[in-house]
Assembly symmetry: C2
Homo-oligomer: 221 residues x 2
């Protein structure tokens, strides 16, 4: 086991990584500017655990601030002070869920983690993301209904940056922001849910579609 | 001037077009199954005109069923009976707005209309769609907040079919449904609004990004 500080840096060219804006999140999905004292952090973790349990048992669409307060034995005001509103709570739960996923693509074994060629990593990233999404569909779809945060959630920012760096490492030229956005849209929760639930597509077909899209975007003109 | 029945068919290979499901809309965006008597159609047109005026004057986000009823001098119940709910009204206004746009890509002059090679038509389609979107951003973003109808609105169904037929006509192989969905996502109202308003991207950059994406998807492996 290595401690976080001993971990190898992601295998992007260092010069490229430096030219990108600093991320507003740490790897555990906790906003840097909201560094909390230990007891506050414990309190927050307790609320998030309660929310996760409720989502697992009853579905994200039935999650309420009151339900979380009652399950965690705190006042409703505490939940509101901590997360702002229901959408804020859902995004916090997703940050928690994303932690594991981020670990896998930033520090895990290849091909999704460092060590594989960038195009191979990108293919593995989408496949892993689609499987992760299907396991947590209910949560992601529910959080995504809050349109105003869809494009600025820490989870999305980290994913977009990861895709951009892999495209750059693969030598892809062009408007990498727009290409990353296009790839990200393939992993959109509601779009994926629509294809699986309403169009009868399978997860394997979506995985194949992702690999094909990566190849089309990455291959030289 | 030619009447609708004299119009040339879109320049897709006929055999391919036949293999696709029949569209749930006519070109004027009116669902086939809701064919209306002339007076009901006039009534509907009056309500849609009132809604369009209100949106132009005050913005789609301030549109209410009551406001439309009052502007058209009818009871509120009439508006609800006709459109179901506010989202239904917004989609009906979009269908009206889409009519002109559909005319241009199905029957208008090349390169967006028939006559140009399919890849060139596809490039022109996206450029026209992005410009059309920017002129009506407010309306499209507002209607798109209704997530449940986002993937089944007649406007989207017609666009997706158009892109699929052009990809097929261009000889693109692969999972055309997923490729069409990817291209369509580039024209997504909220994603476009985010890039223009929050990321400082220009319409010209998005148009360039669309052309580049079409080339990457259409070029042979």
């Amino acid at each position: 086991m290595t401690s976080p500080s001993e971990r190898p840096a992601p295998a992007y060219p260092a010069a490229e990584a430096r030219s990108l804006p600093v991320l507003p999140v740490l790897l555990d999905g906790e906003p840097v500017e909201r560094a909390e004292r230990a007891d506050a952090a414990r309190n927050r973790a307790k609320l998030l655990d309660a929310a996760s349990s409720l989502i697992r048992d009853r579905g994200a669409e039935h999650l309420t601030m009151e339900g979380v307060a009652s399950a965690a034995n705190v006042g409703k005001g505490t939940v509101f002070r901590r997360f702002g509103d229901r959408a804020g709570l859902l995004f916090a739960v997703i940050d928690k869920t994303e932690k594991e996923f981020q670990e896998s693509f930033l520090f895990g074994p290849p091909p999704v983690g460092p060590g594989a060629p960038p195009v191979e990593r990108l293919e593995a990233f989408g496949v892993t993301a689609l499987r992760h999404l299907r396991c947590n569909m209910n949560l992601y779809v529910e959080a995504d209904r809050n349109a105003d945060r869809r494009y600025t959630s820490p989870a999305r920012v980290v994913r977009e940056r990861h895709i951009t760096l892999l495209l750059r490492a693969a030598g892809v030229t062009g408007d990498l922001e727009l290409l990353s956005n296009t790839l990200l849209s393939f992993l959109d929760p509601m779009a994926t849910e629509h294809l699986l639930a309403n169009r009868g597509r399978t997860l394997a077909e979506l995985e194949g579609g992702w690999r094909d899209l990566v190849q089309r975007i990455a291959r030289p003109a």
